[in-house]
């Protein structure tokens, strides 16, 4: 199974555990080494927070026995993600389900909404 994971860097919260939640969910579920995991980092201008997120994602994949890679996605994330999806036969796209309000209501992110409407594969939102 080929799984494409999108990690979105939030300028307010940076590379915290919430930013890595979609990857953690995939790693928790993935059991077979034949699974292939690719991680795309979006929403980050080059700089310390982007490097921290890349480093943390790479470290989490360190113990994963299958094929995995992490890369930063430049340009306009929604279109770039669709382009990546169009290049290879992905089985699933996993993205963060968005943020929460102070009282805890879920706010779907605009990227998640765009992908929900446009991605040609199964989409999983991780909260």
């Amino acid at each position: 199974m080929n799984v494409l994971v999108v990690l979105e860097l939030d300028p307010d919260t940076g590379a915290d555990d919430d930013a890595l939640a979609p990857l953690d969910w995939v790693l928790q579920r993935a059991r077979r080494a034949s699974d292939r995991i690719a991680v795309l980092l979006v929403g980050a201008a080059p700089g310390a927070p982007a490097e921290a997120l890349e480093e943390r994602a790479t470290r989490r994949l360190g113990s994963w026995p299958g094929i995995a890679h992490v890369r930063r996605l430049p340009g306009e994330p929604p279109r770039e993600i669709l382009r990546v999806l169009g290049h290879e036969p992905w089985d699933e796209l996993v993205v963060s389900g968005g943020t929460r309000t102070p009282a805890g209501k879920i706010r779907p992110g605009s990227l998640a909404e765009y992908l929900l409407l446009n991605a040609p594969v199964t989409l999983t939102l991780v909260r």
Binding site: P102, A103, G104
Partner: protein
């Protein structure tokens, strides 16, 4: 045209009682030492009635969430010995408060939700809250109607949600 709401608008200050549309005697009181009753209230909540991921399910999640809600003013609707509605104004860290309101299924459409929100706005104003906002799913017409009736106006939209706000 929605009616103009001003800072001089009269808002009820709990505690007070009301008779709902079905003739039930309901009391609205400020939230306080009633955590256990609220946990029971949210445990009775039908998962199908959840919206925007709330309320959380299971007491292990409900308790810490209630602690967050308790950071601001709250009101509880009581019928007999049970909490049947709860509303809260949660500080947003930016000088305003987010409003949330939950009414048990059997008590919806009876005026309790609207009264609960008014009571909360009255209590909030008395405790120094100056602006309240909320997000609601755009197809949740019953909720949008309650918010309009209680003076909230559309302040923006984000995808599937409407943001509404009002001053106190």
């Amino acid at each position: 045209m929605s009616p103009v709401r001003s800072a001089t608008e009269i808002l009820p200050l709990p505690p007070f009682g009301l008779q709902d549309a079905l003739g039930r005697r309901v009391f609205i009181r400020p939230a306080g030492e009633d955590t256990e009753a609220l946990v029971a209230f949210y445990e009775r909540f039908d998962p199908a009635d959840r919206a925007q991921g709330l309320p959380p399910t299971g007491s292990a999640r409900i308790r810490p969430w209630l602690a967050v809600l308790a950071e601001g003013p709250g009101v509880v609707a009581w019928h007999e010995d049970h909490a049947v509605g709860h509303a809260s104004l949660v500080p947003d860290g930016r000088g305003a408060h987010e409003l949330v309101v939950f009414v048990l299924q059997g008590y919806r459409g009876t005026g309790i939700g609207t009264t609960l929100v008014r009571a909360l706005l009255g209590l909030g104003r008395a405790r120094g809250v100056t602006r309240a906002w909320l997000t609601v799913q755009r197809w949740n017409h019953a909720a949008v109607s309650v918010y309009r009736k209680t003076g909230f106006e559309r302040a923006g939209e984000e995808g599937l949600e409407i943001i509404m706000s009002r001053s106190l």
